[in-house]
Symmetry: C2
Subunit: 253 residues, 2 copies
DNA sequence: CTAAGCTGTGTGGTCAGACCACACAGCGCA
DNA sequence: TGCGCTGTGTGGTCTGACCACACAGCTTAG
């Protein structure tokens, strides 16, 4: 007869994870109320709350006060916030060096761009006619929208940077890999403060933002031209160039 | 006079994050006791505990009962567990498709191998003499050890898989990028159950494990031979081959 | 008959308090 | 000097009280 050495909140967490794995719970479902869960699992309500809090921050539940179908803890699957919190806190605690964040971004974002270009290439090989109804290119509509939005006159630096982040993320989203999307969002958030502070070190924000916009256009053009190698290089230069210019590191190869 | 709309536990979390960012707290430091923190921040002790639990799961604090210098909540910076929990739970909640996990692994691990090979190449260009005392190759000692351990006769499948995971992680560690290490650890953990279950679908575990070991040796040889392209391809084939064989997806290019 | 108001219920959010085991530090005694 | 005891502060856990919220159901008035 083994004594369960797990802590009370861990019992709750494991129970919910198990239900997720077995398909007993899925996004949209509502957990039993805290009091019910506590009774069912033989723990205190505080321990239930601790576990729920963990799940909330990791993007697995959303909680609502009240009654009726929208009340309580609802299962969601939104990893972005959790990834951001984890990375942001690890940067703050010096577990993740900023340079490593930047390098990881380089790895992921160059891969995304190359993969999009490859998808265009595959589509083109199957259907060389760009207007063919059966031709399935990746959907870059959102990317284009964001580039157009970045061309608006009078954007503040913060507005520009937010659109810039959104553009990069839109490439990942066009790729369709949820893990990469969440990871990239987290990486970006983790060093957001540093990026913003780096703007002050630029010789000319106007020159830099012009250059960034042009580079974005170049990246998108390389993707649309089905040039994986070109897209990869342009993204690499774009990201490392900006970080070098703001002295955030690392210097370009 | 604005009312703080944050929840009580969020106030605690933000306070601790701020202290980390300002360098008032760093790994090894001890947080004030829960009761003290509650009083200082004007919240209940339960709310402090909820925040601490979040930080604990994300790898930012470790808690010890007792008194003296090792008691209480100590700041750490160990992102691996948090990354694993986040990814594992997101897979369970269907936020992260398994296929996306695999693809992300491919991106990261091929980049790691290529970067190691490039580091060997750089070292060789600076110091062609392999025995030169000033030559600084990446340290692959741990990788070699693990490969040797995998050659032991009579390993169970689980033992083999654990060593296999450790080998892959040791490559990331040799690269020295903490973000990639944690991310890869999380990715691997997230689908560990699937990987283990996949073994049952193999025609011959013996043949497969032999092949895997040979492929590991090939990867390491390509790295040591300063061949980034070769290392990249071998890792890609190695990972996608195993997943295809166990039908975990995705099929090789 | 319909709409508005009231009541009851269950939800999460929060705090306080009680008690436990743990781990150490300090003190007293052999 | 070493051992045992006591006190203190630590996290861990549970319980209970109360709050605001949100809905559902019922009753009353127009």
């Amino acid at each position: 007869m083994t004594v369960d050495e797990r802590r009370a909140w861990e019992i709750v967490l494991a129970h919910i994870e198990n239900d997720l794995l077995l398909g007993r719970l899925k996004p949209g479902d509502r957990l039993p109320g805290e009091r019910t869960l506590a009774t069912d699992l033989g723990v205190g309500r505080s321990s239930v709350r601790e576990a729920i809090r963990v799940l909330e921050v990791l993007g697995l539940v959303r909680t609502n006060v009240g009654s009726g179908p929208t009340a309580g803890a609802i299962i969601v699957a939104l990893p972005g916030g959790g990834m951001s919190a984890l990375m942001r806190l690890q940067v703050a605690a010096q577990g993740f060096p900023v340079a490593d964040i930047v390098k990881t971004r380089l790895v992921l974002e160059t891969a995304v761009a190359a993969e999009l270009a490859e998808a265009v290439l595959s589509a083109a090989l199957l259907r060389p006619d760009r207007q063919h109804p059966d031709r399935h290119d990746p959907d870059l509509g959102r990317c284009v929208q964001l580039l157009d939005a970045m061309d608006a006159p009078g954007l503040t630096e913060d507005e520009f940077l937010a659109l810039d982040a959104a553009f990069h993320l839109s490439l990942a989203e066009a790729c369709g890999n949820q893990v990469v999307v969440a990871t990239m969002a987290g990486l970006r958030t983790a060093i957001e403060g540093y990026v913003r502070a780096g703007v002050a070190r630029l010789a000319s924000w106007s020159d830099t933002s012009d250059r960034l916009r042009a580079e974005h256009r170049g990246i998108l053009a390389a993707i649309e031209a089905a040039d994986p190698t070109g897209a990869h290089s342009l993204v690499h230069a774009h990201i490392s160039g900006y970080y070098a210019e703001t002295q955030l590191s690392p210097a370009p190869h």
